[in-house]
């Protein structure tokens, strides 16, 4: 019984509530005319779509930089990569990996300066990250209007210049991962093998990274910066490295998202993508300074499951669309819970 109590205390009531809520939605689904196989397929799809964006948060959490509210920088790097890929008419796997290749230098540069900035403001990283992210997105809005892209599928029709708000990737690399080795069962269920394999590979990559000498040092910096310093590890260097890695993964994450979702969303779209990622990893059990692969996978699954099932099930029951409101309450409530938890400094 004591083990159960400690489990509940560590896991936290909000997470348990969310988990039970999701299970009940799955149970209810068939009774309200929602197909389980279609739902499951949806959930898997959305899981794969978002997973890497959530994974991107892990390095910075581990190194003690907190929740990366500045993930928008990584997303923008990814957008630059994707648009460049389309500009050069790259298709199929070339297009997808080309997008990542174009995004890489941007993400490293953004991440490097962002990391240096965060090192100068230790203690107030989260708020500053938010506003740096917002202003950068706004700056990029001006850029999207002004940069000399000229692929006709990307720019506004009549003016001929300035990127559209939403650009389709159909004909380029739509669902290139999802469809790779996909398994179709019945009319409604598609298992997006390629997507999940890619997600698995990235997660494995990060898992391995955390077990290298540098990865170990990074974790130590987040766990006890004084200890790490006394062992000759430069906390600043580790933090900057984690920020660069996080930004890079953000870029990869948005490209994966785009190939599944089907559209490149520019302008103010990056900003609202950050909070759901943060909420997801927190739902998965991460804290402000510790996150693992399990947190990423479980959290993304639960959160996306919630976002998928709630509209279909609740709407069928109540004949009304409450999904937006529930999403707002759940995701922000989760982040709030994590922020107000007594930081378990075992001193």
């Amino acid at each position: 019984m004591r083990n159960f109590k400690t489990f509940v205390q560590e896991f936290g009531w909000p997470r348990i509530i969310i988990f039970l809520f999701l299970v009940s939605l799955f149970v209810l689904a068939p009774f309200v005319g929602v197909r389980l196989d279609a739902s499951f397929s949806d959930v898997l799809n959305r899981f794969g779509q978002y997973a890497i964006l959530v994974l991107a948060l892990v390095p910075m959490i581990q190194s003690g930089c907190g929740l990366n509210f500045g993930l928008a920088l990584g997303i923008v790097a990814g957008l630059l990569g994707a648009t460049l890929s389309l500009q050069f008419h790259l298709q199929g796997f070339w297009g997808f990996f080309g997008a990542i290749a174009f995004a890489t230098p941007f993400s490293i540069i953004f991440g490097y300066f962002y990391g240096k900035l965060l090192n100068k403001v230790k203690g107030e990283e989260m708020t500053i990250a938010m506003y740096v992210g917002f202003s950068f997105v706004m700056l990029m809005c001006i850029m999207w209007l002004v940069l000399p892209f000229n692929n006709p599928t990307m720019v506004w029709g009549y003016a001929g210049k300035g990127l559209r708000t939403t650009i389709t990737v159909e004909g380029y690399w739509l669902k290139i991962l999802n469809d790779f080795l996909a398994i179709k069962i019945g009319r409604f269920f598609v298992f997006p093998t390629g997507l999940l394999l890619f997600v698995g590979a990235c997660a494995a990559g990060i898992w391995l990274f955390l077990r290298t000498r540098i990865g170990t040092a990074m974790t130590a910096v987040g766990s006890n910066p004084d200890f790490a310093r006394a062992s000759g590890v430069s906390a600043d260097k580790m933090r900057t490295t984690s920020v660069v890695l996080s930004t890079f993964l953000g870029a990869v994450g948005i490209i994966v998202y785009q190939q599944s979702f089907g559209f490149i969303q520019l302008y103010t779209a990056p900003s609202p993508m950050v909070f759901p990622a943060v909420a997801a990893i927190l739902i998965g059990g991460a804290s402000v300074n510790k996150a693992s692969m399990i947190n990423v996978l479980v959290g993304t699954f639960l959160f996306q499951g919630l976002l998928t099932m709630t509209p279909s099930v609740i709407n069928s029951i109540l004949q009304t669309d409450m999904s937006e409101v529930i999403r707002i309450i759940v995701s922000n409530g989760m982040i709030l819970y994590a922020l107000t938890r007594k930081v378990k400094v075992s001193k």
């Binding site: 706004m138 700056l139 709030l336």
Partner: protein, 375 residues
């Protein structure tokens, strides 16, 4: 710390934000093609419309809780009051008073919750407040979109959505529009000056000045400077912080009502989204920081920020051929200003800690590497 001659660099960093703003705004006036008369009239109107909200940020800064990004909780309380005022068809400035009476207890309650939550997240008040605002927004939406008109009986069918419950997306505030402003609109040198509104703002300023002279004000100041010392002296730190937030939330409630009566319509589900952003940007542009803010910061900030907001869309249009550029530029500067202020503040306070320790060295030769001390 011994009084040192402030180098040009230090002076710049203290006033960096104000300087940048002045430069950008003045540069944008001529490309915008707007007349000075138009700009000044707009500024007078906006002073009346926004100042109250910005003043609401003062006490939390005073108490060491940073920028109260959760002020939208007060705005939401005011909006609920306003919905009922429209529902009960209470018109004119009486409608505003009615809205205030309903919104006040809600604002006190929400402020109390906010204070309690922030006390649990000491050192992270700003980001917590930000998220709390979103969270309560969800609850507000649930309340207004689902409960009003169904569980909560509403009288006026014209404000309800066609499906039968939930308030419409946009609420026409014709009944209370400009009611405060027009009680006594003074025509002064070609400009329209909303006297009563401005008098209310001045009264609030007087209240703030008086408040700082009270014991509670002194306690807030002590708590804002050093919680540990205040606690050791017997000051009830947690309670004091909660009171500061409650007052801030209540002022935000009233401030939002003033804002909305001037705007003339209520975007039911969005009006409060940008409230804290505009107020925080304004006070920072006015020279305030996360730990220091005074009344002059409020007015200088409102004038500078809104002057920039007035001229940049058209300047962008004329310079770049696109109104959107001006619009984006406006937001970029707005967010950038907050980011810059936060960074300068964080950087300065770390330097101050390092410098104050150099006093303790007292006679120790040489200076170590920067940051050679603590991690």
């Amino acid at each position: 710390m011994s009084p040192k001659k402030k180098s040009a660099a230090t002076l710049f960093s203290e006033y960096a934000v104000v300087i940048i703003f002045l430069v950008i705004t003045v540069a944008a006036i001529s490309p915008s093609g707007l007349s000075l008369k138009y700009i000044i009239q707009e500024l007078i109107t906006r002073l009346g419309r926004n100042s109250f909200l910005v003043i609401a940020l003062l006490l939390p800064i005073y108490s060491g809780m940073g920028l109260n990004f959760a002020m939208s909780l007060g705005a939401m309380a005011g909006q609920i009051g306003l919905i009922f005022a429209v529902d009960w068809s209470v018109a004119g400035w009486q409608g505003l008073v009615f809205a205030l009476l309903i919104g006040l207890p809600i604002a006190v309650f929400l402020g109390w919750i906010c204070g309690k939550v922030m006390n649990k997240a000491k050192g992270r008040e700003m980001v917590t407040g930000y998220i709390l605002a979103f969270f309560i927004n969800g609850i507000y939406q649930f309340f207004v979109l689902y409960m009003m008109g169904s569980v909560i009986p509403m009288r006026n069918a014209s404000i309800i959505l066609s499906r039968g419950y939930g308030i419409r997306n946009t609420l026409n505030l014709e009944s209370v529009r400009q009611s405060l402003d027009t009680i006594f609109m003074l025509k002064l040198g070609g400009f329209d000056v909303p006297v009563v509104t401005l008098i209310i703002i001045v009264l609030l300023c007087v209240f703030i000045v008086w408040f700082k002279k009270t014991k509670l004000g002194q306690d807030m100041r002590a708590v804002g400077q050093d919680m540990a010392v205040a606690e050791a002296a017997g000051i009830p730190v947690e309670k004091t912080r909660i009171v500061a937030i409650i007052i801030s939330t209540v002022l935000a409630c009233a401030g939002q009502l003033i804002f909305l009566q001037n705007m003339g319509n209520l975007a039911t589900y969005n009006a409060h989204d940008q409230t804290s952003f505009f107020a925080a940007a304004a006070i920072l542009v006015g020279g305030a920081s996360v730990t220091h803010a005074s009344i002059p910061n409020v007015f200088i900030g409102v004038i500078l920020l809104h002057a920039m907001f007035i001229v940049s869309p058209l300047a962008g249009q004329n310079l770049f051929g696109s109104a959107m550029v001006g619009e984006y530029f406006r937001q970029f500067i707005g967010y950038g200003v907050i980011a810059l202020s936060l960074v300068l503040y964080a950087w300065k306070s770390r330097k101050a800690i390092f410098n104050s320790r150099s006093d303790l060295r007292g006679g120790v030769a040489g200076k170590g590497k920067d940051e050679g001390g603590q991690a």
